[in-house]
Assembly symmetry: C2
Homo-oligomer: 211 residues x 2
DNA sequence: GCTACATTGTGCATGCGCGCGCAATCACAG
DNA sequence: CTGTGATTGCGCGCGCATGCACAATGTAGC
């Protein structure tokens, strides 16, 4: 036990959580790996293998108890508690992130907003007062957020990320179009819609039609 | 030749493009695989292997000509031309996408905006008239967009995706939190910040501190 | 023009994730 | 309490991506 769990496995768990949440809301009690896999485009064996890394949650002949499995996955992923996040960059993108309603229901709360540009500082956005990036370190001592969201231009992104890391942030959601460098104990995930588009055009570039 | 190229390789190419674009803007003429790999967190061998799928773009003893390699990658990915996209869902998220300035510089242009909710129909957002989802099929005959962006609630996402596919869209950027089903000849990429956060919390859940 | 050096391109081995296939196991019916 | 049917958990092999190591090759200096 306690063996190394592949990162791809961890990346799939939230997908399972999402599907199970829907099933729970529908009042379903049990689900088997085949049905769950069908919904997610994952093979049943894959799901069973993934879950077996953490324990035996299923019952032979029946499947998985939806509520039970959901609780286990929440425990595994560490999403039983609320997580505080700080946002850096309150431009157009940053404001959209602040207004996005998808975080709160999943227990992710933005508790601080910062900006490099002094023009935005002092403004109130979605109930949060925008503060200068300069006071980030001291503010972080009170906020104690372990998650950071970066929504600044590419040019200042690495610098901002360095500051977040120094302030104790352990995981970063990066919307800036750069490949950032972070210490090995800090997690970072990039969100860049342009990269997604550019990799898809490779596959469809032959299929005619004018722009 | 003409062998199957792994999807992971295709997914890395846009990252190379992004880094090379920065180098070109800095006036750099040549770059070797070691330096490029250092910037991107990729091993030099990985980069050389990836590029070797498509040809021999480097010069031994020197490295890669930045401009030349950039042109080749543009050609490979099919991003020499402009790509038209249609957006479905003009809520808070959809408006942010319409206003996002990161697409245009890379040749991705939103040419149509649609919504399920009739309240938004008729409104002008960022120079585009929002139209009803019902007229999507006929509008698409003129727009001829091959890319679609989905920014509707989870409940109606699959339905919207089906309509896009029927209207001839070949690749979809999906912001809705669902695992959508599409025919094998249609590409789809999901963007869900919540999934990214939930997989990162797994790794940092032990490191104390209150929410 | 020749030599020394640097870097690419690639055959090859390693490791790892994925999925098959089956035995173990549980529910349920009779 | 026993038999039947279904589904999990998992050992195992396959296939593929990754990275090493070296030969091939181009550059630059003298």
């Amino acid at each position: 036990m306690a063996l190394e769990i592949p990162e791809v496995v961890i990346d799939r768990l939230p997908i399972y959580v999402r599907a199970l949440t829907v099933l729970e809301r529908q009042g379903r009690d049990v689900v088997n790996s085949q049905e769950l896999g069908g919904k997610l485009g994952v093979t049943p064996a894959q799901i069973r293998k993934d879950l077996s890394y953490f324990g035996r949650f299923g019952k032979q002949g029946r499947g998985y108890n939806v509520k039970r499995l959901l609780e286990e996955l929440h425990q595994i992923l560490g999403i039983t508690r609320e997580w505080s996040m700080v946002l850096v960059g309150v431009g157009q993108l940053g404001r959209a992130i602040l207004g996005y309603g998808g975080f709160a229901p999943q227990g992710f709360r933005i508790v601080g907003a910062f900006d490099v540009d002094s023009a935005a500082v002092g403004e109130r956005v979605d109930g949060l007062e925008v503060k200068s990036i300069d006071v980030l370190p001291e503010e972080m001592r009170q906020l104690r957020a372990q998650l950071g969201i970066v929504a600044v231009p590419a040019a200042s992104a690495q610098q901002v990320i360095d500051m977040l890391v120094e302030s104790g942030v352990k995981a970063i959601l990066n919307y800036a179009p750069i490949a950032a460098h972070v210490p090995p104990d800090v997690r970072i995930k990039d969100i860049d819609p342009v990269l997604a588009l550019q990799s898809m055009t490779f596959y469809i570039k032959e299929s005619g039609a004018a722009p």
